[in-house]
């Protein structure tokens, strides 16, 4: 068929423009460098608590940290919406597994001691 119409040069090539996919707040994004790993890093640098008598200020500062972190991670969503989306992601297998890992990292290493005892 191509030869009939002169190698198809005359035919106009239709370009169907694909819509730009909307970025999603999914587990990949949450686990990427800007996601939870970054949160784990910045909380160590940022969180300075004043302690007794400053409860509200301390919590407000903590909330601000979360808000800015979420804004960097996924600028589209408002704070409350973003939190709801992340909370929902927390129910997936993959994230649950990772959460356990993160917690275990912080645990004192009991198991190895017991092993060496035996």
């Amino acid at each position: 068929a191509a030869t009939d119409s002169g190698l198809g040069i005359d035919e106009e090539i239709k370009i169907v423009k694909k819509r730009q996919p909307i970025p999603k707040l999914d587990d990949n994004r949450l686990l990427s460098v800007g996601g939870v790993p970054r949160l784990r890093r910045i909380c160590k640098e940022r969180l300075r608590f004043k302690g007794k008598g400053h409860e509200y200020g301390d919590v407000a500062r903590m909330l601000n940290m979360y808000q800015l972190w979420l804004d960097d991670l996924y600028p589209r969503a408002k704070f409350a919406d973003g939190l709801a989306m992340i909370e929902k992601l927390g129910h997936t297998k993959r994230i649950q597994f990772m959460r356990k890992e993160w917690i275990d990292e912080g645990k004192p290493k009991h198991t190895t001691e017991i092993d060496s005892d035996e």
Binding site: V36, L39, R40, I42, C43, K44, L47, F49, G51, K52, E55, Y56, D58, V59, A60, M62, L63, N64, Y66, Q67, L68, D71, D72, P75, R76, A77, K78, F79, A80, D81, L83, A84, M85, I86, E87, G90, H91, I95, Q96, R99, K100, W102, I103, E105, G106, K107, H110
Partner: protein, 742 residues
């Protein structure tokens, strides 16, 4: 084609012209202004009425259209003819046979015309949707005409038409007379039921057809007396009428605050002033909090600020209101985002449910309140027990006349009347305390016998079954009514146990025994609470109240009765295993059937065991119920003191009593609590519950801060609902030691 105007064209297309012609000619043959200037019946009025009825029945009913009803509405049949006829002959209805028949015939027309319009999703045709709004508005017009009719008492006439039939003893009453009683009562029900539709704009004065107006008219025309006499002799003289009376009561009482009804005039007015005061105060606080953040210069002042963020990034925010206020600028950054998380469309409410909506409060005029109060008192004294017993039996037997909505209405009304009775006793008591009057004695003398019929074992069984069934079928409105009833029963029992009479105390003890004995009841309350998912505020309010009341009373009860036993369903695994083994040896076909039966029987094995309140309370505290209470608390600006207290107690229990604060360590909850106390749009600082909340949130935040410092893992975990595997570690900082098996 001849030129027509738009009006004619629309009319033509909507109603079959032939139907219109027939109906109109019948209506004009019915009668009109006679020689003496009053209404005169046509020669064949009775036949005309019957014909009209046939049209309505056959053309509309069988062809499944609404054309005839619409024609009748357009022709002003109700106001122009039927009411005139009834007014004219109302005096002679009881004596003149022919007049009585004419009256019955017009009533037979009025009932289907005022029958509340509903669109049945299965049956409805285009025709229904086309005529729906018009007919609904017309029906409101009928109601107004009937209530406000100045020359005769239409409702009273309706009852008088039925009087001769009512006078016949039940056994000798022919079917026709039963029918007349029924239509008269249904007429009353229709009038009580009709209310302005929410989806059609109304014109005219809504006060003329409001609940107060209905109650006033019922009082003036002695309808309350008729209802009382039917209700009090139910079972003797009347049998099938119980559901109609139930519906009349339901539509009269739904949404009315039973507590307020029994407040004394003076107290009520002070309460109303207090309410007004608190509302003004609330508004002031709102405006003040707005003014604190409002710009101090005109809106084109054009300030722009940078918010420095890490990695040398900046965000810009415009507007001078954020100058020098870090918190404010953070909020503005969030607020100016355009995108919203798409929400799932809300649950669709079908028409019947929205009409039965009983969570909307109804305002009342003081005259209507007084009259309703008298009626409710008389009803409680004379008719409550017979009617509710009769209805309960009818529902248990699943009689034909009982429809699904009736059990919902039954339980709603049961809770309503229990509440009313408690409120009445309280007012009598307070009066007695005030002044040593004669009433002091009656207050103490009267036992709770007046409402005994809904406080017996049969009702509890029915209620339990009803709640279980509606939960299984996801009939949330039903469950809502069931929960309200259960809560009210608990509260009544509570008041009973504080009664001065020893008999009452004993009975209350007994009832509590029975309620708290079944472990399945405990489990159901927990389950309902934790499985809330978007069923609306009324439901949310009901389920949080139920669990609050239930938990509190169970706690008190189990403290008094240390050796409380409950009946629980034990899973008899061992028996099953044994049975399975035996079957395996036998290995024959017949045994297979009996095996499954055995297993179910074995699983149903019921055993008594000691009840442990702390373990039960622990069941109450889980992520699901926390989520439910948090979604309840999200309405904090609309909650009253009592509701806020309920939420406070629960969260307090979670955080400090059960030591499971880790369930609350979630960023969205922190944000909600922070917003409640620190604003913007927070709780009113002057409100009575504020102090308590402020204290609680401060304590809670302190624990959060401390915990985060101890265990930095929490920073990530705070984003999520906790998983059971890690809760214990997060709370205590070490793993639970599992009992090792040797």
């Amino acid at each position: 084609m001849p030129q027509t105007t738009l009006d004619e064209w629309t009319k033509e297309s909507q109603v079959d012209p032939e139907i219109r012609a027939h109906v109109y000619s019948l209506i004009s043959a019915l009668g009109g202004i006679g020689d003496d200037g009053t209404y005169a019946l046509g020669d064949n009025a009775l036949l005309c009425l019957k014909d009209l009825r046939k049209w309505l029945k056959f053309a509309d009913g069988q062809l499944n259209r609404r054309d005839v009803a619409r024609c009748m509405a357009e022709a002003n049949l109700v106001k122009g003819d039927l009411l005139e006829i009834l007014a004219k002959i109302s005096e002679k209805v009881l004596h003149d046979k022919l007049k009585h028949r004419v009256a019955v015939a017009s009533l037979e027309l009025l009932v289907p015309l005022t029958w509340p319009f509903e669109i049945d999703p299965v049956e409805a045709t285009v025709n229904h949707h086309r005529h729906g709004p018009y007919i609904q508005l017309a029906q409101i017009g009928y109601k107004r005409a009937i209530l406000q009719y100045d020359r005769a008492r239409i409702l009273q006439t309706a009852i008088r038409i039925a009087l001769p039939s009512m006078a016949i003893p039940l056994r000798e009453r022919p079917l026709r007379d039963e029918g007349i009683i029924r239509i008269a009562l249904y007429f009353i029900r229709n009038i009580a039921m009709l209310s302005p539709p929410s989806n059609v704009p109304m014109d005219g004065d809504e006060a003329e057809i409001s609940r107060s107006a209905t109650i006033d008219t019922f009082h003036e025309q002695d309808i309350f007396q008729a209802i009382l006499s039917v209700a009090s002799s139910i079972g003797d003289e009347f049998v099938t009428q119980d559901v109609v009376i139930l519906e009349i009561l339901f539509y009269l009482l739904k949404g009315i605050d039973a507590e307020k009804l029994f407040l004394e005039e003076k107290k009520l007015s002070t309460k109303n002033t207090e309410e007004l005061k608190s509302l003004i105060q609330k508004e002031k606080a709102m405006l003040a909090s707005y003014a604190r953040h409002a710009p101090s210069r005109h809106n084109r002042f054009g300030t722009m600020i940078w918010v420095k963020r890490d990695e040398d990034k900046v965000s810009t925010i415009s507007g001078q209101d954020v100058l020098g206020k870090a918190q404010k600028s953070m909020q503005k950054m969030d607020r100016t985002k355009k995108w919203n998380k798409p929400k799932r469309p809300g649950r669709k409410k079908d028409d019947e449910q929205s009409r039965e909506e009983f969570d909307l409060p109804v305002p009342m005029t003081s005259s209507a309140r007084k009259r309703l109060k008298t009626f409710v008192e008389e009803f409680l004294d004379s008719s409550f027990n017979p009617l509710f017993m009769h209805l309960r039996k009818a529902i248990e037997r699943e009689t034909d006349r009982v429809e699904t909505r009736h059990s919902r209405q039954f339980f709603y009304l049961a809770s309503w009347f229990l509440r009313a009775e408690c409120a009445r006793r309280r007012t009598i008591k307070s009066k007695a305390a005030d002044q040593k009057s004669a009433e002091a004695l009656t207050a103490e003398d009267e036992s709770y016998g007046l409402v005994a019929e809904v406080m017996n074992q049969e009702t509890f069984i029915l209620l339990n079954r009803f709640m279980q069934k509606s939960q299984d079928e996801k009939a949330w409105q039903d469950l809502n009514a069931g929960m309200k009833c259960f809560t009210q029963i608990l509260l009544t029992v509570q008041e009973m146990s504080e009664s001065a009479l020893e008999d009452d105390q004993e009975i209350a003890e007994n009832i509590q025994n029975r309620i708290f004995y079944e472990e399945s009841t405990h489990d159901r309350v927990v389950n309902v609470l934790r499985s809330y998912n978007d069923q609306g505020f009324g439901y949310l309010d009901a389920c949080t109240e139920l669990s609050h009341v239930f938990l509190r009373m169970l706690e008190r009860y189990s403290k008094q009765n240390v050796d409380l036993q409950v009946r629980s369903r034990k899973r008899a695994r061992k028996i099953r295993k044994k049975k399975a083994e035996a079957q395996g040896l036998d290995n024959d076909e017949e045994g297979h059937v009996s095996e499954t039966e055995d297993i179910t029987a074995a699983q149903r094995t019921v055993s008594d065991r000691k009840f442990d309140f702390t373990r039960f309370a622990a069941k109450f505290v889980n992520q699901g119920s926390v989520n439910t209470f948090v979604s309840f608390l999200k309405f904090y600006q609309d909650l009253d003191t009592e509701q806020l207290k309920r939420a406070h107690r629960f969260l307090y229990r979670v955080a400090f009593k059960m030591e499971l604060a880790v369930l609350l360590y979630r960023v969205d909850i922190l944000q909600l609590l922070n917003k409640m106390i620190k604003g913007p749009e927070g709780l009113d600082t002057e409100s009575p519950g504020f102090k308590e909340w402020e204290e609680f949130v401060r304590h809670f935040f302190r624990s959060v801060v401390k915990r985060v410092q101890d265990r930095p893992e929490l920073v990530v975990e705070m984003l999520f609902s906790k998983i059971p595997a890690t809760i214990f570690y997060l709370e205590h900082g070490y793993d639970r030691e599992l009992p090792s098996r040797t």
